[in-house]
Amino acid sequence: MLIVVALLLVAASATAAVAQRDPARQALVLSFMGVLLAALFTVLQAPDVGLSQLAVGSALTPLLIMLSVRKVRRRGRAKKETE
C-alpha cells in the first residue's frame, strides 16, 4: 500500500511538473517530486538511491534551475531598463 501511495503521488506530481509552464513554479514542483521520489525509493527498499535522489533533488537541482531562472529574468530586466 505504501508503494501504491508513493507511486500515485509521484505520477501526480509529474503531471503537475509538466503542467506548470512557469519554470520557477515548475522548480517548486520538481523539488516536491524529488522528495517524493526519495520516499518511493525508500519503500522500494533502495535507501542508497533514495539518498542520492534527496541530495540531488531537494537542493542541488532546484538551486541550479532557480539560478538559471534568475539569470534569465535579470537579463530581461536589464534589457527593459536600457530600452
Binding site: 503521488l9 513554479r25 532546484p62
Partner: protein, 150 residues
C-alpha cells in the same frame, strides 16, 4: 503491515497530497510554504518507515532530508524573494502544527528505540527537522530583505 508503516502511509498520503495541492495552486508565497511542508510531512514518514522496516540504517535518509529540505526552501526564499514580497503569510499556525507532529513522531520513536547511538541520531534528526522548519518559515516571512544583486 505493522503500525509504524501504517502511520507512515497515512502521513505520506495525507501530507503528500496536501503539499502537492499547495505546491501547484495559489500565489507563489503559498506554494513555497507548501514546499516547506513537504519536508515536515515526508521526514517523519521516513523515520516511521525506518522503524517499521526494522532498519536503523534508513534513518540516514530522514537525517539528510531534515538537513537539506530547509536548505531547498531557503533557495526558493532567497531566489524568489521578489515574488514573495507582496503579502507574506507567516503561516505560523501550520508551521507549529508541523513542528508538533514532528515532535510527536520523534518522541514516539525515541521511546521505541531506547537509549543508544540510534537515539542520538534520532534526536539530532528531530532537532534539525523542527529547527529547519521554523527557520525556513521565518525566512519565507521576510528573511531576505533588500536582496537585489546578491
Amino acid at each position: 503491515m505493522n503500525g509504524w508503516n501504517l502511520a507512515a502511509a497515512v502521513l505520506l498520503g495525507a501530507g503528500g497530497t496536501a503539499a502537492l495541492w499547495g505546491v501547484t495552486t495559489g500565489p507563489p508565497a503559498r506554494r513555497v510554504i507548501a514546499q516547506n511542508m513537504t519536508t515536515s510531512a515526508v521526514c517523519p514518514a521516513l523515520l516511521l518507515l525506518s522503524q517499521g522496516y526494522g532498519r536503523p540504517a534508513y534513518v540516514d535518509l530522514a537525517l539528510l532530508l531534515a538537513l537539506l529540505g530547509p536548505v531547498g526552501t531557503l533557495v526558493f526564499a532567497r531566489l524568489l524573494s521578489g515574488d514573495l514580497s507582496d503579502g507574506r503569510p507567516g503561516a505560523w499556525g501550520l508551521t507549529w502544527t508541523a513542528a508538533g507532529a514532528g515532535t510527536v513522531v520523534v518522541t514516539a520513536l525515541c521511546v521505541a528505540v531506547g537509549p543508544g547511538r540510534a537515539l542520538v541520531k534520532l534526536l539530532v534528526t528531530g532537532a534539525l527537522l523542527i529547527g529547519g522548519n521554523v527557520i525556513a518559515s521565518r525566512a519565507l516571512a521576510g528573511g531576505f530583505r533588500g536582496v537585489r544583486g546578491g
